[in-house]
Symmetry: C2
């Protein structure tokens, strides 16, 4: 079976399930390129993410969950820019062609595409060690994208949800530990299908001064904002929303560690002047947490309830990380 | 060394060497997404290609040449749509971090980016078996992209250059044969740095009725046009421009085989009404070759000088091909 047949057969569903060649997609799969239209006054936002078997996910895993996760991880970068999702390309490298695997994988991909209201617009299928590269496309009003560079002393620091679920889920994902379904289910769901915070990102446009999605761990990612904006960030541990599910599963200390340094949460972290986010109160389903503030200086510090500096040396995991 | 440092250090040159954040690139590497601007009345063209070590290129090869080739192969799809190149993202999976390898690879990438007048706008670096996914972005006036679907009975069939060089170069690339430098150099140059026919593609807008770039082999790719357009294509063997370099190296029969069925040439094949291409005469450096015609019906046939049907059964190589 050739490349085109593969792509057409298994991934047409991810394409059609959403809005076909509507809304920004002028030409989808099947020609040399896909074609996208941008409304006047908007810019295209682009991001690429690769997931490699044995590095970013266990070599043996549910292909449906993997399909959800590989798209969600990439779309989270669109959310972090305040962009609206349009479409994505998929470069899929497979050791062999398993019809069952492709069916499941494309079902998961399609499900996440549907949730993010975006279409598969093209791709490439090659033989090799299992690896998935997703490139996502979104649109954002010109000049309104949320960058990492605008944090100002006096701003507050926020996160868009509780933290640590993905790191807390790892022992379950790797089969190292077991937990009752009530504990395991929400953690596994967050790990395999983190929901990109597209709505929150869009609502932050024109209000937040800097934003990103937490993929390397809260403190490490706050370091990226601090460096890009040329400011210092102070995180108050008592305000950090630690996942209660992880606390129930692994205990307080490990849950705090997961919230501060665990990667893969794909929750937004952002800065905004005090009172800049009052409009969010109109959206009852959106909840954000102030966790610190922006100061003159550089770097990230962590403070306890008494204002004591308790900054750990290891702030997150860098790339080239291995799943043990 | 972390992901961002890697990307910034080694690939900044590919970014800066060209036109930085000018011409369509509003925001390059370093934030969650890159941002592209599109002039009013233009569409964005997007294509993704993956090259895997041991499948699409020898596992041991010159990283500078590999850098050139992985970008050229992807950009060729922009040429085939008649698009002007803007930028690209790079997803690079590496077994380990070798500074020498990255220096050389980025130098090759930068060179091809410069030749195509485009910028690296983002990427992802991961650990794993060597694999490269490039996603390219171009712009094309709305509605003028060259698709595969418009070939009409009565049109002529053309190619944009001599064929078979990449397949003819394979024995040299794989070290299976040797040749004098005068023979080897142009073949290896074409294999490792095929020059995407961006200028020809742009000049065909509004004149050609269908187009693609030859990656699977002439006859196989003509089959793609025939199928997409719902027509038959007839190729006259006597008119096919067989690479004289390959003929000198491998003899007439093997050279013809390489021209008809060899992949990876990245020369444009296109259809146009008779006399539709007279404007190309003003561009002395552009040479195109009529090689056949479009008829009612379906499929691709090959004719000898006497009009005899000599269509081979095997029309090219499909994907999932292995370099032996």
């Amino acid at each position: 079976m050739g490349e085109f047949e593969l792509i057409n057969r298994y991934f047409a569903s991810a394409h059609c399930a959403v809005h076909g060649e509507g809304e920004g997609v002028a030409l989808g799969i099947g020609d040399d390129c896909a074609l996208l239209d941008l409304p006047p006054g908007e810019q295209l936002a682009v991001s690429t993410d690769t997931l490699v078997a044995g590095v970013h996910f266990p070599a043996v895993c549910d292909p449906k969950l993997l399909g959800q996760r590989c798209l969600a991880v990439a779309v989270s970068d669109l959310a972090a820019m305040g962009a609206t999702a349009i479409g994505f390309t998929l470069a899929l490298t497979l050791p062999d062609v398993s019809h069952d695997w492709l069916e499941e994988f494309s079902a998961g991909l399609s499900r996440m595409a549907h949730r993010c209201r975006m279409s598969l617009i093209g791709g490439d299928t090659t033989r090799g060690p299992l690896s998935i590269t997703v490139t996502v496309f979104g649109r954002v009003p010109t000049g309104q994208a949320l960058r990492r560079t605008g944090a100002q002393p006096g701003d507050l620091l926020y996160v868009g949800g509780s933290l640590g679920k993905a790191a807390g889920a790892l022992p379950l994902v790797l089969g190292q530990r077991q937990a009752p379904p009530a504990v395991a289910a929400p953690l596994l769901a967050h790990y395999w299908a983190p929901m990109p915070q597209l709505t929150l990102g869009a609502l932050l446009r024109g209000h937040a001064t800097a934003a990103l999605d937490i993929s390397d761990g809260l403190l490490a990612d706050c370091g990226h904002i601090a460096k890009a904006s040329g400011v210092a960030l102070e995180v108050n541990l008592a305000q950090v929303p630690v996942s209660p599910e992880v606390e129930a599963f692994l205990g307080r200390e490990a849950a705090v560690q997961a919230a501060l340094a665990g990667g893969d949460d794909y929750i937004l972290a952002f800065t905004a002047p005090p009172d800049a986010l009052t409009h969010l109160a109109h959206f009852g389903f959106i909840q954000v947490y102030p966790i610190g503030r922006v100061l003159q200086g550089q770097g990230v510090s962590l403070r306890d309830a008494h204002g004591q500096d308790i900054t750990p040396r290891q702030r997150g995991y860098q790339h080239f990380r291995e799943i043990p």
